[in-house]
């Protein structure tokens, strides 16, 4: 029997248990969703309890034990499970503390970008006309300049630190949200209940908040989860360009980029944060995919 050639099937369509049962079922059934949720929860917990988990102070220089390999390789010591870097700092503690900044930058910049993006999307979608065309041209121009280009130019002007990083990534990434939200608003705006509310004199502002925002939030959640992943990856590239977070602050991206000169000799300094980034991004994307299928069932991509 040939598999998966055509999924149009009567049974799938008319079996719809109630909403919560559905979440529970879907989560339990869809392997990737569960895996994603577990990974994301673990990394968030690591970030929150970093001070308790980290065996050493990430910035403590220890000239005596420089470039120690991980414990299981010969020459490694169990005091430093993942070995030490070129200043003798404990790699494991740095990765644990690094999670704080990487996740914080990812989430905070996405929230900022989301706020700007959703507002502009709603306004442009709802009011349409020349407002819409101006805002959309603004969106097109921001889209035309790759995010990393923006960050490169801005961060080299202003001193880069965690706050500036968040603001810069937030101010340049809002474009995807604006386009998405505008699209949704355009379609919802046509719906009768919105027209009805409009006709009985409900203020535009209230309509946007009461009717449009809730509908838009669901797909916003999906997009924002995925772009937290992209931002974490971008932070590593910015560190490579010397524009990421500066010591003593530490992030996965900064450890990875500082360790790149040692890839040939002490490969573990750069590789473990790389693995941390990859696993967390994997978790976020699986979670994002699962959220998309739960929130808007129309898309059949699961």
């Amino acid at each position: 029997m040939d598999a998966a050639l055509n999924d149009n099937n009567e049974i799938q369509k008319n079996v719809r248990p109630n909403f919560f049962k559905r979440w529970g079922f879907l989560l339990w059934r869809s392997k990737t969703g569960t895996v994603g949720l577990i990974i994301v929860t673990i990394s968030v917990l690591i970030a929150i309890f970093a001070p308790l988990l980290a065996p050493y102070d990430p910035a403590m220089i220890n000239p005596a034990s420089m470039l120690l390999p991980p414990a299981w390789l010969e020459g490694g010591s169990t005091e430093h499970l993942l070995g030490t870097d070129n200043l003798g700092r404990d790699n494991l503690s740095r990765i644990i503390y690094g999670s704080q900044v990487s996740i914080l930058v990812g989430v905070a910049s996405v929230v900022l970008a989301g706020a700007i993006g959703v507002t502009i999307g709603l306004i442009s979608g709802y009011f349409g006309g020349w407002i819409d065309s101006i805002l959309m041209r603004l969106v097109d121009s921001f889209l035309a300049i790759p995010t990393i280009l923006f960050a490169l130019v801005i961060l080299s002007i202003f001193e880069s630190g965690v706050m500036t990083l968040i603001i810069v990534l937030g101010v340049t990434n809002w474009v995807n949200y604006a386009r998405l939200v505008r699209g949704e608003t355009l379609s919802i705006k046509e719906r009768d209940y919105v027209r009805a509310a409009h006709s009985i004199g409900v203020s535009d502002f209230k309509i946007i908040i009461k009717h449009l925002l809730p509908n838009v939030i669901s797909s916003f959640i999906v997009i924002s989860t995925l772009s937290v992943a992209t931002t974490i990856i971008l932070e590593a590239s910015l560190s490579f360009l010397g524009l990421g977070v500066q010591p003593p602050v530490v992030s996965w991206g900064s450890i990875l980029s500082d360790g790149r000169d040692y890839l040939a000799t002490s490969w573990w300094i750069a590789t473990f944060p790389g693995i941390a980034i990859t696993i967390t991004v994997l978790g976020i994307i699986f979670l994002g995919d699962w959220l998309r299928d739960v929130i808007d069932p129309r898309s059949k991509s699961n």
């Binding site: 000239p63 080299s156 010397g242 524009l243 500066q246 003593p248 790149r260 000169d261 040939a264």
Partner: protein
């Protein structure tokens, strides 16, 4: 519409790919490093420009040294100033020097060197204030041409270091007829000099190709027919290119790779001390904690210079108290290859200065500009914290760092590494001149100002040397600022080539021989 999308998509993308492949094949036929007569050198940053007066960039001069000649040149071993384009010179009075050129020196385009070339070149840099080298040559008033081969250099004030000044970055002599005929822009894209190698081709951020100038006035002194300077910014890539034989010499090998380069049987690590001193400048402005000598001394005593050079520089680099390096005129030998380290004393000094429960300062530092700069900064902050100095470390990208200092916004301290291309104490010690760094350091010492002003114009060389040595001792006693160490030059060299880097960080192709 019988358009088959798949074909359209395939064809369009194939063409982009084919264009690329063909283009790159027909492009520069990459002369492989194995080809015997070609020397390939990998630099970290690209040469900036052929305007010899307008770059202030040591790695650019390291290339120009093979294409242009100075009037005088510094003997790498002895440190003596010798004749290069000049045949002889005679001091007429304190402010005029009569120089005679060697006869019949050809430029790469066949033009013969004469006084007009010297007049045009030296007056260009000494008059045009927008040129980056202008401040080092402003002392030259004008060049009086006597005849084709002789001319008199008139300086505005007596300049005992004129010879050193004319044997450094910015002293190359340009072909005036060639430039007047084709314009300076044409010169910039097709440079002509008198050096042993002449220009072939320059693909920016990729490679600069030179070839041997057979009619070089110094004769046949080099074994290499062609030289290619390649630009490879990423450290690990540059090292990998060296290890695979893609290049013969790679500059700025990071300490993390020294062992790997030395152990590899096809390559070895060539190290020498450079005259670039790593220092921490501090503010002497009123109201800043570092204006107090006790604090400065505490900061200096808290730093274990040897630990830095041992742990971070693999033992290369020499701790020092004076920033003037060996081989420089006026070098105070007793203040070199030594350092003060006494954390206990540092704590006492801090207590005396009223900071027994800690001193909070801010340290600015560039990142990725000098050898291990970020690591050294973090280690110093660690050492200071042991004695109760809590330093907030702030890294800056280079342009911001320059701007921060120029605008005088720097706070307590900043890290800087400075070389001395003149190999004369004047160039090193003028950093302690009050006006030069008003608003940035504001260090003022009456006695030192007079000493330096006098030495700058003292034509009696012995006396001048003693004045500079005395100045260095005075600076050391005052602990004007902690000085860390002299950086090392670390080059990776292929076994098929024999080369030792020189302290002036120049790359003399003719000194590189085949094994």
């Amino acid at each position: 519409m019988k358009l088959n999308f798949k074909k359209v998509l395939g064809v369009s993308l194939m063409s982009v790919f084919a264009l690329g492949a063909v283009h790159s094949l027909a492009d520069v036929e990459n002369v492989s490093a194995q080809d015997d007569d070609t020397l390939t050198i990998a630099l970290g940053t690209d040469m900036v420009t052929f305007d010899i007066h307008n770059h202030v960039n040591t790695s650019t001069e390291a290339i120009h040294i093979n294409m242009f000649n100075y009037l005088f040149k510094r003997n790498v071993e002895t440190g003596e100033i010798e004749m290069d384009l000049a045949e002889s010179y005679e001091i007429i009075d304190d402010t005029s020097w009569e120089v005679t050129l060697k006869e019949g020196i050809p430029f790469h385009n066949g033009e013969i060197l004469d006084s007009e070339d010297v007049k045009y070149t030296l007056e260009r840099v000494s008059s045009d204030s927008t040129l980056l080298e202008h401040s080092n040559y402003a002392v030259i008033d004008e060049i009086e041409v006597i005849d084709d081969l002789t001319f008199i250099i008139h300086t505005e004030t007596p300049d005992p270091a004129l010879l050193n000044r004319l044997a450094r970055i910015g002293s190359g002599i340009l072909p005036v007829d060639y430039i007047e005929e084709n314009g300076f822009d044409h010169f910039l894209s097709n440079p002509v000099g008198t050096g042993p190698y002449q220009y072939v081709n320059w693909i920016r951020d990729d490679r600069l190709e030179l070839e041997k100038f057979d009619e070089y006035f110094g004769g046949d002194i080099s074994e290499w027919e062609n030289v290619t300077f390649r630009v490879i910014p990423e450290n690990s890539t540059r090292v990998s290119e060296l290890l695979t034989g893609g290049v013969d010499i790679a500059v700025n090998i990071p300490p993390s790779e020294w062992e790997r380069v030395d152990d590899n049987n096809d390559t070895y690590l060539a190290q020498t001390d450079s005259n670039r001193a790593m220092m921490i400048f501090v503010r002497h402005t009123e109201g800043w904690p570092t204006a107090d000598k006790a604090v400065r001394e505490a900061m200096d005593l808290a730093i274990d210079n040897q630990a830095i050079t041992d742990h971070l520089l693999g033992g290369a680099g020499t701790p020092t108290i004076t920033r003037v390096s060996p081989g420089t005129f006026g070098f105070a030998e007793e203040l070199s290859d030594t350092y003060n380290y006494d954390p206990e004393r540092a704590r006492e000094l801090l207590a005396e200065a009223g900071y027994e429960n800690g001193l909070d300062i801010k340290l600015h530092s560039p990142r990725g500009r000098y050898l291990q700069d970020a690591e050294i900064a973090q280690m110093i902050v660690g050492m200071w914290s042991q004695v109760g100095i809590n330093a907030e470390l702030e890294f800056h990208e280079w342009s911001n760092f320059v701007e921060l200092r120029n605008a005088g916004n720097n706070e307590d301290a900043f890290i800087l590494a400075l070389g001395n291309s003149m190999f004369d104490a004047f160039n090193a010690l003028d950093w302690y001149d009050y006006e030069r760094f008003e608003g940035q350091i504001d260090f003022y010492n009456e006695e030192l100002e007079e000493l330096l002003a006098d030495a700058a114009q003292n034509m009696d060389l012995e006396e001048r040397e003693q004045q500079y040595i005395e100045a260095q001792h005075l600076i050391a006693e005052e602990v004007v600022h902690p000085v860390l160490h002299l950086e090392s030059i670390n080059m990776g060299v292929s076994e098929r080539v024999d080369y030792t880097p020189t302290m002036d960080e120049m790359i003399y192709i003719h000194t590189i021989t085949k094994k």
